[in-house]
Symmetry: C2
Subunit: 305 residues, 2 copies
């Protein structure tokens, strides 16, 4: 049996080399490789011969690769979708709680003003939370929310019932979500043509003055202008955003100072937390590749993620 050869970028970090070897493959040059780990590469994707049967990317969202057209159909491509679910879901729940517990209102104050903060403390227990996108992150969000006593409404592509959701709505009937009595929304869906401006003026109008919108997916899922209008008018309580449109958000953009908005600069999955999760995913996928088994995170060119 010939050893499986996996190429890594020049100057690959030790943890990547270790993960590939622990998965059971040998590190070798791209010219001799069966697979490429496109992780931590500073340049773009190198030219690939047909001998390279698999490319592992390091990000969970891969719409940029799709747009640039480098993802071909001559080999299997995998993203890190789902690998970062634990840390990103933690971030989403932290953002939602920061909203409903009045922390966004309290942050930066320098006067003891209980009335102002209490007004924005609505609590999570007993509320209905829509989780849009029930992949690894969305399902993990639901698991973390369960003990808080929330009712979860899931949205996924298939409409197949999601464990723990009171109701699962297929993405192509998402309009049903907005009439289902949603208090808060967590966006965890990939950026596709179908999810572009998934939350706009009409959807925001279906929420309440106590509602929070959390986005840990991609900025394009929200119509930024409509969001600013909704928080400014107090039609919703606020938005907690790890991603924005545009991104990076430029200095002076009105979203920075819109009332009830808190922004983390795409830090739900910071590098120092991501490495461990990506190493585990790569070790697992290399082992699967060596054994000829189905890889995790295979990109579906038709679905766009």
């Amino acid at each position: 049996m010939t050893a499986t050869v996996v190429a890594v970028p020049d100057g690959a970090p030790d943890w990547l080399v270790t993960a590939v070897r622990d998965g059971g493959a040998t590190i070798g040059p791209l010219s001799a490789a069966d697979a490429l780990m496109q992780v931590g590469a500073t340049g773009g994707l190198p030219a690939l011969s047909d001998q390279v049967r698999w490319v592992q990317l390091s990000s969970a969202g891969i719409e940029g690769y799709l747009r640039s057209g480098v993802i071909d159909d001559r080999r299997v491509w995998t993203s890190a979708a789902g690998a970062y679910a634990d840390t990103v879901a933690e971030h989403a729940v932290g953002m939602l709680l920061a909203g409903v517990r009045g922390l966004v209102t309290a942050a930066g104050r320098t006067r003891w003003d209980p009335a102002a903060v209490a007004r924005s403390t609505t609590g999570l227990g007993g509320s209905t939370v829509a989780v849009v996108g029930a992949g690894g992150i969305g399902r993990r969000v639901m698991a973390l929310l369960a003990p808080f006593g929330v009712t979860t409404l899931a949205v996924n592509r298939s409409g197949q019932p999601v464990d723990g959701a009171a109701r699962t709505i297929p993405a192509d009937r998402i309009e049903e979500l907005w009439s289902a009595g949603v208090d808060h929304v967590v966006l965890a869906a990939p950026a596709t043509a179908a999810s572009h401006h998934l939350v706009g003026a009409d959807e925001l109008a279906a929420l309440t003055p106590a509602s929070w919108v959390v986005n840990i997916a991609r900025g394009s899922l929200i119509d930024t202008d409509a969001l600013i209008a909704a928080v400014t008018a107090g039609r919703i309580a606020g938005a907690a955003l790890d991603v924005t449109d545009p991104e990076p958000l430029p200095d002076g953009h009105p979203l920075w100072t819109a009332p009830g908005v808190i922004i983390t600069p795409h830090t739900a999955n910071p590098a120092h937390l991501a490495h461990g999760a990506l190493a585990a995913r790569i070790r697992e996928n290399v082992a699967r590749f060596v054994a000829g088994r189905q890889l995790l995170g295979v990109i579906d060119l038709g679905a766009g993620y």
Copy 2:
């Protein structure tokens, strides 16, 4: 059988009257009452004859009543201890997540600076959280934290193992906690002589530059000067405080602007959320009183809570 008569303060809210009646008692004047619901009263406690066999207070922490000496041993007194566990525990977990997810660092920023926020995003999963005080709030905090994959160390008076805790340490041996590898601390213990300045310079020195201290109990549990010194020197990451010492925190106090500190002005249990929980507790306790059963939240004068 004579009806049980319960007195409520002048101008008692409808929900209180309803809770007493739903519990099976009749509302009547204090002069004819078997029990007093000291809830929402604007003045102090009225003079009580020995006919009043039970007084229900509306707060969970009752050290102020104890200090003033009004709690006598001629009847049973109950606090609302445990009644607000759901909302206060939610607040505690929200504060801890806001800390470890970099939200305290991110709040109020108006520039896209991922490096600064990522540095303070350490994550909760895999960490060890000390929950000091394993009453209703502490146990609820532990239940909410469980799915995040944290190891919990509980501290209670008895040292009797607390469900879900990797280890339970009796309060009189709390020094063992600080050498047990604690990442974060949630304070949920009553204010007593024993818990005064439970977290001081020595305890803070046992934590790490990534540690968060959350206080949803009473301000006196933390040595404020020592806390300010620790966050200012970066010996811990920050503190999320719903209670302070002094409280209310005066304008210009250095805690307002200490790095990594977020303060909610004793709003973990705002009135609009508390009413429902207190109504349920009163309904239950009145029913128990009518039936001659043990009440919930009986104050232990010896323990001081």
